[in-house]
């Protein structure tokens, strides 16, 4: 009996010594490598590797790379009709996995550059068009999806999966590199059967032409001035639309309502620790945490709350370049997802709204990433003077986060439907909005959205113009 007690005592002592060594090593490594500042928690990473994820208090959700670098919309074409699936909708979620499987089966067997005509032609009859809405550097795309890209492709903004012809029925992929304005075709020996069966599994197709099919992507001629030219990849749904009811309000949950374990995880996202940070609370419900590494604040405004972080070192050591791009994007996206979840705002989907390219870093080596919110696949934009302002903004020096701001709102399915007129009405109003009657407008994208204004939530068409970072909300009255 005594012997057994001795053995038990030795085991317990050994465990305590080992765990203290591990904790010490983790703390030392954090200080030495600065990985805490990069939003990695050494201890929890180690714990997850030995199957003890969450044991040390980490309740952070790490999204899949394929969810971070995901198309904003998927356009399915069958015959002469189309269905548009927006990210955040049930249909998108149900089909994205299968589409991803087709994408991941690609190998760069033969990659050739093609012209825009072949790109547009491939998007007819039977095709799956993945519209990423922004440009991803090739390294970001490959890291997120773990698929190789031919070296000549510098960036990805869109992919078409189609059958090469009805005779051989082989899968082909077309990739649009918008930064170089080039199109590439990857031929495979794989069957396009999966593409066709996926297209057959969807219903509710309707006649939605692309701008190229209406001829709106090219100017007419000198006799008649065409004041608006639309990117050929933009689907033009010419019907009126009705958006589901949704209202915006201050989140019901405040920072005080978040359970400790989750709250500590949120702090760790920014490299802060409750044990070492100084905490300040105000009567109005706002909080501030100040640590050696930075400051995290939470404040409540009239109809939104704001989480804001600022690094103590504005120019933290890091490096610019393609390797840093994906790390920065992934960590920023994870932060935003986890903060939304912590505040119970799970019905909001994130949409990346800025290019993730090497040239996204400015001369000082700082990159700004913007994100917007979507509800049931429809963007929900904050507006100021008809220009969209982004609810999520983050700045990186290399891969290190130096600034972060996120507006928090609650979206609930109440209120009235939002009717929006046909898209041509909005395009006609564009000239009045921008007050440049003699210019030609090049529209890169036009889509439906909810817009938050001082009058409440409205339904509008929103437009992105070429060489313009802004998104404009166009107010149109119902005819």
């Amino acid at each position: 009996m005594n012997r057994k007690k001795e053995i038990l005592k030795n085991i317990t002592l050994s465990f305590l010594v080992i765990s203290s060594l591990v904790l010490f090593a983790g703390s030392w490594l954090r200080e030495w490598s600065g990985i805490d500042k990069n939003n990695e928690n050494f201890i929890n990473t180690l714990a997850s590797k030995v199957g003890l994820s969450g044991f040390f208090g980490d309740s952070i959700d790490y999204p899949n790379g394929s969810d971070v670098v995901a198309p904003a919309s998927i356009v399915l074409t069958s015959g002469a009709e189309r269905v548009i699936l927006n990210k955040g909708t049930d249909m998108y979620s149900s089909k994205y996995g299968d589409i991803l499987s087709i994408l991941l089966s690609l190998k760069s067997e033969r990659c050739v550059e093609v012209n825009s005509s072949e790109w547009f032609s491939s998007n007819k009859s039977q095709a799956i068009y993945l519209d990423y809405d922004i440009n991803y550097h090739r390294e970001v795309f490959m890291s997120a999806l773990d698929i190789p890209l031919p070296p000549e492709i510098a960036s990805v903004s869109g992919i078409i999966l189609a059958s090469n012809d009805s005779a051989t029925n082989k899968l082909v992929a077309y990739i649009h590199d918008d930064t170089e304005d080039k199109y590439y075709k990857i031929s495979t020996n794989k069957s396009a059967r999966n593409v066709k069966s996926l297209l057959s599994s969807v219903s509710n197709y309707k006649n939605i032409p692309f701008a190229t099919e209406l001829g709106f992507n090219t100017a007419a001629d000198e006799d008649i001035k065409q004041q608006v030219i639309i990117n050929g990849n933009v689907p033009i749904d010419l019907e009126s639309h009705r958006l589901s009811p949704v209202e915006v309000s201050l989140p019901e949950k405040t920072i005080s309502d978040i359970e400790d374990k989750k709250f500590n995880s949120i702090l760790s996202l920014f490299g802060l620790s409750r044990s070492s940070a100084q905490e300040y609370a105000d009567k109005d419900g706002s909080f501030m945490y100040i640590d050696t590494y930075g400051t995290l604040s939470y404040k409540i405004e009239e109809n939104r709350s704001i989480v804001e972080y600022s690094s103590a070192s504005k120019m933290a050591e890091g490096f610019s370049g393609s390797e840093a791009l994906y790390k920065a994007l992934y960590s920023g996206y994870s932060n935003s997802v986890n903060i939304l979840e912590a505040f119970g705002l799970d019905n909001i989907t994130l949409k990346i709204s800025s290019d993730i390219l090497s040239k996204s870093y400015n001369e000082e080596g700082i990159m700004t990433i913007y994100m917007d919110y979507c509800y049931n696949g429809i963007p929900v934009y904050f507006t100021q003077d008809n220009i969209i302002i982004h609810p999520v903004e983050m700045k990186f020096s290399g891969e290190n986060l130096i600034y972060y701001k996120q507006f928090l709102i609650e979206l609930s399915p109440t209120g009235s439907y939002k009717d929006i007129p046909p898209v041509l009405n909005a395009i006609n109003n564009l000239t009045y909005l921008l007050e440049k009657e003699d210019e030609t407008y090049y529209i890169n994208d036009i889509h439906k959205a909810y817009t938050i204004t001082s009058f409440g939530l409205e339904g509008n068409w929103c437009v992105k113009l070429e060489n313009d970072e802004n998104i404009y909300a166009i107010k149109v009255s119902i005819p």
Binding site: A80, S125, Q126, S166, S200, N207, L214, I224, Q226
Partner: protein, 150 residues
């Protein structure tokens, strides 16, 4: 001398005739006139398998565009109605127009009329043939054949 002079006159007359005919001939690559440029269909004669068809074009702001179809039984063009509404549009500031019509099987002789704010009226005619799906189309597009049968 007289013969040479006559030959010269004949040559001049022939050249004038040829030039005047070519001036009135429609440019097969461009559908339009000084008031409107039709983007779709791209040519005066075209074929499609789409029953639901968009006629698109660009004109000046304020021009009213109406679409009618020739009825061989009456010998007249009749204004089209789509989903209960007349196929008439007035171009806005962008000048872009897109009018949905439903084609009938076979040849559709379509007239596009423009009424400008200054009172000028023009007409354009295009022929669009709606083809029933071929066997290769059926094999390629199972969605369409299900709809065709329905």
């Amino acid at each position: 001398m007289k013969k040479t002079f006559k030959l010269l006159i004949m040559l001049t007359l022939v050249c004038s005739f040829v030039l005047s005919v070519s001036a009135f001939a429609a440019d097969p690559g461009m559908v339009g006139n000084s008031v409107i440029k039709i983007k779709k269909p791209e040519t005066y004669t075209s074929t499609t398998t789409q029953k639901e068809y968009y006629i698109s074009g660009v004109t000046s702001s304020g021009v009213t565009v109406s679409v009618s179809r020739y009825n061989p039984f009456t010998g007249y063009f009749h204004l089209l109605y789509v989903d209960g509404k007349a196929a008439v549009q007035t171009a806005g500031a962008s000048g872009l127009i897109a009018q949905k019509i439903y084609l009938t099987d076979g040849n559709n002789k379509i007239r596009i009329r423009t009424d400008s704010p200054d009172g000028k009226v023009t007409f354009l005619e295009v022929n669009i043939t709606l083809n029933v799906l071929s066997l290769s189309d059926i094999q390629q597009s199972p969605i369409d054949i299900r709809k065709a049968i329905a």
